[in-house]
């Protein structure tokens, strides 16, 4: 892993880069952990009216602290509406939700995700993981899917052990052919090395910006599939002091997320 400026750690950089992908005045179903830290940072900086929804049913809460569960009390404080999970999912299905923000155990070049099992086979897996949870639904139905994941060959693989959650499946038009709503799909992948997007034609993952100090060769070395690169290829903007202060003092004072680096 490349060396970084001591002013911030990798988790802080990822959260900051992720926060900048979320727009003001848009709706987003957010998972716990880094996605939520990013959404909270976005709300406290450039996107004060980013509307957060939680798959268990909370709509537009006033977040005071990082929840530990997408259903817990901290997702419900000051909410505009307390709904059900089905109602949140149905809003996504109706096309009202702009973003979702997920993690996963493996990702491939088309942004497909595995969170079901690693190794062995499905009936007797080496490592059984949670399965889809809401990921398959949210990535099928929300307009833009963001993914946040550590960047190495364990995570960025040429072939998933299991396709839990749809990215672009097998490439252009494959989502539509399968029956998924047109115009949806993976939008950004925020990793420990770079910010990635997807080539509009081939639907394959490509680096949109390298994190400070990272070279294209670093990315290639840590990726299990043939990564593409945008041209020109900027460097990710570093976290500002203000962003870091908010992240450390207001969002994650217990260092649950940013302390993992």
């Amino acid at each position: 892993m490349p060396e970084h400026n001591r002013r911030y750690n990798l988790m802080e950089l990822m959260v900051t880069v992720a926060a900048r992908q979320l727009e003001n005045g848009k709706t987003a179903v957010i998972g716990t952990g880094m996605p939520l830290a990013a959404a909270m940072l976005a709300q406290k900086t450039r996107a004060p009216h980013l509307i957060t929804l939680f798959e268990a049913g909370s709509v537009a809460p006033q977040l005071v602290k990082l929840p530990l569960s997408v259903a817990d009390s901290f997702t419900q404080t000051g909410a505009l509406m307390h709904q059900t999970m089905n109602e949140i999912m149905e809003a996504c299905q109706r096309g009202v939700v702009d973003y979702t923000f997920l993690g996963g155990a493996q990702i491939d070049c088309y942004g497909n995700l595995n969170s079901t099992f690693i190794g062995g086979d499905w009936r007797k897996p080496k490592v059984r993981l949670p399965g889809s949870g809401g990921a398959n639904d949210l990535a099928s139905l929300c307009w833009r899917t963001l993914v946040i994941m550590p960047h190495d060959r364990k995570h960025f693989v040429s072939k998933l052990d299991f396709v839990t959650t749809p990215g672009y499946l097998t490439g252009p038009d494959a989502r539509e052919a399968a029956g998924l709503p047109p115009g949806t799909g993976p939008y950004r992948v925020i990793g420990t090395l770079a910010l990635m997007g997807f080539d509009p034609e081939s639907k394959r993952m490509r680096v949109e910006a390298l994190h400070p100090g990272v070279t294209p060769e670093d990315v290639v070395a840590d990726t299990g599939f043939e990564m593409q690169f945008a041209d020109p290829l900027p460097v990710s903007e570093e976290p500002t002091d203000e962003e870091l202060a908010i992240l450390r003092n207001e969002i994650d004072p217990e260092r649950r997320i940013i302390g993992r680096s």
């Binding site: 798959e55 005071v64 569960s69 009390s73 079901t116 099928s140 998924l180 043939e226």
Partner: protein, 332 residues
């Protein structure tokens, strides 16, 4: 570099259907279910004894570690119920408890094994990796919509998720075509659990029950379930229910048992009441790492106590519960 393409899941699903979506059989069951106004107040032991049998298909309300009917889950383990089916819908600590007891042998998996930010449950992983549990894959929405189909009394609902994935392939959904638009949709079959268990904020002795905060899947789960066991923080008068009719989750005629269990979601969070006990959940996760440690842990916390109040005492008692109330951001 050679590119190996992820294969599309173009074949039809092969996952097992663990319960029948026969709406007419469900209608016949519901027709015969008594709707008389009688007290259903009973102990958790009695409720499990009467309404949860070996082989039943079980669904647990709340969200894994939030508003769960822990006392019922413990009793199921204590009584060593086996061969259950389980709806692994938003299942976290509830799943871990039943996995520790090896109570189920088939599972509709939407979210299992993990405890969200807290990581994976070692004992749940071990059980699921043993090959002893038959699994069908779903997602939170599709398993939720399966409850909804049952609650609506229709044998399936058309949905736009799952399609194209391995999750679809290992589910028991079917691919259908919309008769109006020609769109390809997934059809998900109604799921009527034999028993649903839900922890609520308040209920009267007849089963009229109310919940505060988000609903998760409980509205549909309660209606989909053939038998319904409620645990409740408080027993209230029917008048209190009638004073706030928009808060009612279920009317009494859907309910089979009402069990008064204060702190019944412990160590889970109960919104508006108390927050989750992260230290106790960490103790659970740690104990699950070896079967020997898990056995000792279960003996201490589940098999030892005669009832839930004893477990609460062992897990920190009033002092700890007061701390958890203090940590709850929605407390009144």
């Amino acid at each position: 570099m050679e590119i190996e393409r992820t294969e599309p899941a173009s074949i039809d699903p092969v996952g097992e259907l663990f319960s029948s979506p026969d709406v007419d059989a469900a209608r016949a069951f519901f027709a015969a279910k008594p709707r008389t106004l009688t007290s259903k107040l009973m102990t958790v032991a009695e409720a499990v004894d009467r309404f949860i049998h070996d082989g039943d298909y079980l669904a647990s309300g709340g969200f894994g570690g939030v508003r769960i009917a822990t006392a019922v889950l413990h009793e199921v383990v204590r009584r060593r119920r086996t061969h259950l089916g389980f709806a692994g819908h938003t299942a976290t600590h509830d799943f871990q408890i039943l996995a520790a007891g090896r109570c189920f042998d088939r599972c509709d998996a939407a979210y299992i094994v993990g405890l969200e930010l807290r990581g994976l449950s070692p004992c749940a992983r071990r059980y699921m990796e043993s090959g002893e549990v038959r699994v069908a894959e779903w997602s939170n929405a599709t398993l939720g919509w399966r409850f909804k189909a049952a609650a609506m009394g229709v044998p399936f609902l058309p949905v736009r998720t799952l399609l194209g994935t391995g999750t679809f392939e290992k589910s028991a959904a079917k691919r259908i075509r919309c008769p109006f638009t020609g769109l390809t949709l997934a059809a998900v079959p109604a799921l009527f659990p034999d028993v649903g268990i839900i922890h609520v904020h308040r209920a009267d002795i007849y089963g009229n029950a109310q919940v505060d905060g988000i609903g998760i899947a409980d509205w549909d789960l309660a209606r989909a379930s053939k038998r319904l066991i409620l645990t409740t923080e408080r027993i209230v008068s029917t008048g209190e229910i009638r004073a706030e009719p928009s808060k009612t989750l279920v009317p009494y005629w859907l309910v089979d048992a009402v069990c008064h269990v204060p702190y019944g979601s412990f160590p889970g969070n109960m919104p508006y009441e108390y927050y989750s006990d992260e230290a106790h959940l960490a103790e659970w996760m740690e104990a699950g790492k070896t079967q020997a440690a898990l056995d000792r842990f279960l003996d201490k916390y589940i098999h030892g106590p005669r009832e839930f109040a004893e477990y609460l005492e062992l897990a920190g008692g009033e002092k700890r519960l007061a701390e958890l109330r203090e940590m709850e951001p929605l407390r009144r």
